[in-house]
Symmetry: C2
Subunit: 347 residues, 2 copies
């Protein structure tokens, strides 16, 4: 018969397994009955980002078109005095920094005024640059801009949670070609982040250790799912990865918030991030992806039990009814096989 | 400037708000700065499902092609002795009912053998039928099949959670045109469902009432977000709907599990569900959607504080980095406006 709604080939018949992520307690079905090999996801025919023109008159993020954007929040220049990274206001923000974070209760209904920050981080003056092909120093500058603007937002007493992220490619939700990231800073703590805090705290209650620190130790020890590593960071495909190339880049030094990273650590992060992005770019043909920096809410900067990390999600599959209904994912590739494939990519 | 990664027009400049769902404590940004009117989502040009041929030789779910499917689990016949609804095994299931739900711990790593049920519910013998255009009696038969097969799965002592769902249209993750739903029955309780249980239990601790019962009362009282209602069910767009036409159909009678509905209640549910689906079909041009029945895990059949419901999610927007990073959604339409639009659709 059919195999409704998912999967492609069925070369190998292996037994599926359901794995749990020790840090989040989330389960994922590793459906090897629908097995896809990592190389099935490579799409070398896709037009890579870097073949675009370097400049477009109509792109509001290109160098020379600065008048098309507004509200420059931050600008990092190169030695020639020209900008390399800019952070600007979003003209149609989901949240706006006016009016404060008023909490409104009307009987049963609870809402907060749409206070917050929503800004755009331009990663390069050039339309055809892409993070995966920038130098390590350039990637470090992009990360530094995320940190600096995050610190600006954090200084506002009504901000509770900062969410830096990046959508690369239209299938990942990006509507502008020019390389850019975004920062959204919220006056509330999202329920999903609250749940992760509670889960990590329970682990600490039982063990006296941070579960993310433990996870880094275990993954570097086993090596089975490792992609890259240096003094300060480890990049690996989690044991319970929710999609084939879902990757975590976790600091080896315990810090609850990304905003706390030092310059030296930023350089280290840039090295590992660029390595992983380059493997995906070459091995999977410049895939669309989402990158998210997950960190503790404001006022949780000093807790012993929660740890920031960067999550990279190449878009190889989509959510449907089962995922929406259960909050679980089905991953059709063994995390160990995906990691081995990316490790073998020639850079 | 640009409005990176989301939104379309900007006719009205209103203040955004952040709303909380009282039952799940999840927040959603209602981003009316990016305001889209409900009619922006109508796509009358899309080819509707019912213009397909009634029979396809190559479709394994069409009447006459029963030999192409395998493992008939349930069959409901019409008065002519021909089948109307069938439930069959999935040839490439994500989970399989062999081997039991072995729990495997290897130091830090936890996994469960991929035990479970994953079955396909064929909603009609005809390739070009669609739930939105079936009679109420036919919809009731489909719902009855979901209930019957759910009860079969529930009888297995290792099953902990049953997830009935339906993906309609390719953008919603469906790979077969023939109208069908699916059932996935799991040997574990997904973390997201666990969190919802805890959240509902806390509300009960404070109030002595089921939060879902309270929500039905409040929505039917205010009427602002109501779509349809009868003796046993209320259909409304939740106050904190995470996308423009995200709809809940909630039983007025407190029951933790869908498997507990009576035949009379199934008829009532069919009436309301068909009404809402027909509004979406005509008002939005047969949109792709996911439908999910959310219910309590096994062994929670009698709790006073949790309540099953049906969630309908037309696919009008997609998840990107912000949604993945925060677990929150951005909805560009006011739930009250969406409800008014669907109420006005001529049936």
């Amino acid at each position: 018969m059919c195999h409704p709604d998912g999967g492609s080939g069925n070369e190998v018949s292996r037994v599926s397994e359901i794995r749990q992520n020790i840090a989040t307690k989330e389960w994922v079905i590793i459906a090897t009955e629908r097995a896809q090999r990592p190389e099935d996801f490579a799409e070398p025919a896709r037009e890579p980002t870097h073949t675009r023109p370097a400049h477009l008159d109509t792109c509001p993020l290109c160098a020379g078109n600065e008048h098309q954007s507004q509200g420059e929040v931050l600008r990092l220049d190169g030695p020639d005095g020209l900008w390399r990274v800019r952070v600007v206001s979003n003209k149609f923000p989901a949240l706006a920094p006016q009016g404060g974070a008023k909490w409104l209760e009307e009987g049963f209904l609870r809402r907060v005024h749409g206070f917050g920050f929503h800004e755009v981080l331009v990663e390069s003056p050039h339309h055809n640059d892409t993070l995966a092909l920038l130098s390590i120093a350039e990637v470090a500058r992009v990360l530094a801009a995320f940190r600096e603007v995050g610190r600006l937002h954090a200084a506002h007493p009504a901000i509770r949670q900062i969410v830096p992220f990046k959508n690369h490619g239209a299938p990942a939700g990006s509507s502008l070609e020019h390389p850019h990231g975004q920062l959204m800073s919220l006056p509330i703590v999202p329920a999903a982040i609250r749940t992760r805090l509670e889960t990590a705290q329970r682990y600490y209650d039982e063990s006296g250790r941070c579960v993310y620190c433990d996870m880094v130790r275990e993954e570097t020890r086993s090596g089975l799912r490792m992609l890259a590593e240096n003094e300060h960071f480890a990049a690996f495909i989690p044991f319970a990865a929710f999609s084939p190339f879902h990757t975590w880049i976790v600091p080896k030094i315990h810090r609850p918030q990304f905003l706390q990273v030092t310059d030296q650590e930023l350089d280290s992060l840039a090295e590992v991030l660029r390595d992983v992005l380059a493997r995906m770019y070459r091995g999977l043909g410049d895939p669309p992806y989402n990158a998210i920096i997950r960190m503790a809410p404001q006022t949780y900067e000093r807790v012993h039990w929660f740890h920031w990390y960067l999550s990279l999600v190449p878009r190889t599959s989509k959510q449907a009814g089962f995922e929406l209904g259960s909050g679980m994912y089905i991953n059709t590739t063994l995390p160990e096989d995906s990691a081995a494939f990316l490790r073998a990519v020639a850079l």
